[in-house]
Symmetry: C2
Amino acid sequence: MTLRISNKMQVVRGSVIRQMAEAAATQEGAISFANGNPSSDTFMVEEFARFAADIFYKDPNSVLQYGLSQGYPPLIHALKDRLSTVWGIDFEKNDLIIVSGGQQACDFASKLLLNEGDVVIVEEPSFASCYNTFRSYGATLVGVPMCSDGMDLDKLEQALKDHSEARMLYVIPSFQNPTGFTTSAEKRQKIYDLAKAYNVAIFEDDPYCELRFSGKDIKPIKSLDQDGLVLYAGSFSKVMAPAFRLGFLVFDKSLTTRMIVSKQCTDVHSSLLFQNITYRCMTECDYEGHLANSRAIYKKKSQLMYVELKKKLHPAIRCSQPEGGLFMMLFLPEGMDATPFVWEALRRGVVCVPGSGFMIDQEAPNNGLRLCYSTATEEEIIRGTDILGNLSHEWLTK
Amino acid sequence: MTLRISNKMQVVRGSVIRQMAEAAATQEGAISFANGNPSSDTFMVEEFARFAADIFYKDPNSVLQYGLSQGYPPLIHALKDRLSTVWGIDFEKNDLIIVSGGQQACDFASKLLLNEGDVVIVEEPSFASCYNTFRSYGATLVGVPMCSDGMDLDKLEQALKDHSEARMLYVIPSFQNPTGFTTSAEKRQKIYDLAKAYNVAIFEDDPYCELRFSGKDIKPIKSLDQDGLVLYAGSFSKVMAPAFRLGFLVFDKSLTTRMIVSKQCTDVHSSLLFQNITYRCMTECDYEGHLANSRAIYKKKSQLMYVELKKKLHPAIRCSQPEGGLFMMLFLPEGMDATPFVWEALRRGVVCVPGSGFMIDQEAPNNGLRLCYSTATEEEIIRGTDILGNLSHEWLTK
């Protein structure tokens, strides 16, 4: 007997990022610009250890028995406070649950909004694990190309016109993965207006917003939302630690009960220990100082990588210059596929991820490649960009 | 604008167990037989604290950065070893991933196998959070009544005949929640044969199997599976701690890639810290002694509650006598609804959960009520059964 796989799970795909990571693992001493991990230098390890010990010795059952599905109330309170004060989100209208990372926020948004056959309009390229999440609920993806200040709005409107079955619009407004691009304030407003006009929900995925290291903060689309059409996802993966598996989802208050039931019947609740530690890091420590320190680390690495690449790369290769987050993207000349370039770079000891891995059709040629500067040392950035620079000159003058 | 909710999420329901817990919270000093929590006395708190401190001081990044979606390899290895040696599961044919508790195993099984409109055949009564999970993938539930040795097989076969669109059969074979009933070895074989004959997958949910305190262990249905039709879910919630949010799912090897992608696009991976701690508890500590201690605690409480109830309850009330796990069930005389009885018990200071909360139709009258003996003290069990006994005599002689 062969089990019948559900229609929706027949179309999910393996991750190109993981393929690269596995290939890289066989390449001893390779410099990795591949994984989107935060820098371990930003982890508040001393505090994590201290708070964990404190609670295990003083009140272990509070982090060992079942907890509330919506999350640890003090953390929810602290988060709402920060999101309203700093990011302009209105908690008279909205509510929030704690989820197991931004990925689960995407899972819940999809489960809540998508019927099989619905269209999700997505930035392209974008974070492919969320593409897979949408597919795992039977959605069809329609891509809108990214410009350096956000989606191409004409093409977005055309997509909305062409697909009346579209139910969701997926955006990463700040320091997008993989491009590093940020959607401008003007475009955020226009995206919101278009979504409203065409009656489409927005899933706003904003895991990097606290990591701006140049330019001025731009408020999330959720801060513009008077109509309850934006589901806003945040994450502690980049500002605490990925393996905390903690994020949050903000949504119109009318959805609260369904979100809690969704959490109950998916995985009951997220880690109480890490919710407790995160709360204490936010309220008992110098959390602003911690964020400032993280931003300074990423600023230094990002600028170093950018300057070295500009100096070393063949001039026909464009390079995005992020104002925050973990990623930048190289663009080979139009029409050139970056995948063989990436494999050659790997052979020479530098791991990066081909742009095709962030496209709806991963088989089609794509001229982009993603570089993550967050985990490499400065010496690795210099050595890795040397290799990429030399390769680019050989590659483009062949 | 009002967001359109997906068809499948329009039918999920709030949990009666949580309603009872909330009602109980307003009842000061109430004795709770309501929550299915393990006893905190079973937690290896010293070991948890020691292992957490050890890893935070020696190798924090190994539990802070992103990990493998399939789980921590040493834990996977230790689990496969135990499941093959003790429980007869064949890992030549099968594979295993670590998930965030048994609830997520149910979520993945549902996502993998269910199209909207499919029927899931379920034991009735059963664990309602899994009913909700099936609903959240658009399934329709068909109930088969439970006998004290497992499902009524005639009614199961009738259900399979009547519903050719059935794709999954949901069973809790050991110390079932809520009844405490265990499916006999004979019935396990017959259930497997029927599922095979009617081409239906089995989702075998076995969170309590390590907690047998009388009688002999019965091997899971998965141990009979030569055809790859059983998805077997286990949990660390009852043998480590619920808030570890760790469980596992065993499935035919042909499904490995899809399961890993499912984890990637749902929540990336489960807690690395708790996977590490669980592995060390299983391999560096006296894990058998820990399980024996847990079984002894539950045996004592279960037997005390059973003896007290037999002595005190009106003789028209039946009481299940579990051989393991956390639950027993009272059955008022046929045709009598237990819900008003439960509310009156709450008013008198004892919290339990009405059987209707474990039925497909939660509105219909039901004569059952679930008692959990795991968290109450012996003194509370004696005092609580006094109250239930007195109430039963008043109730049935009115």
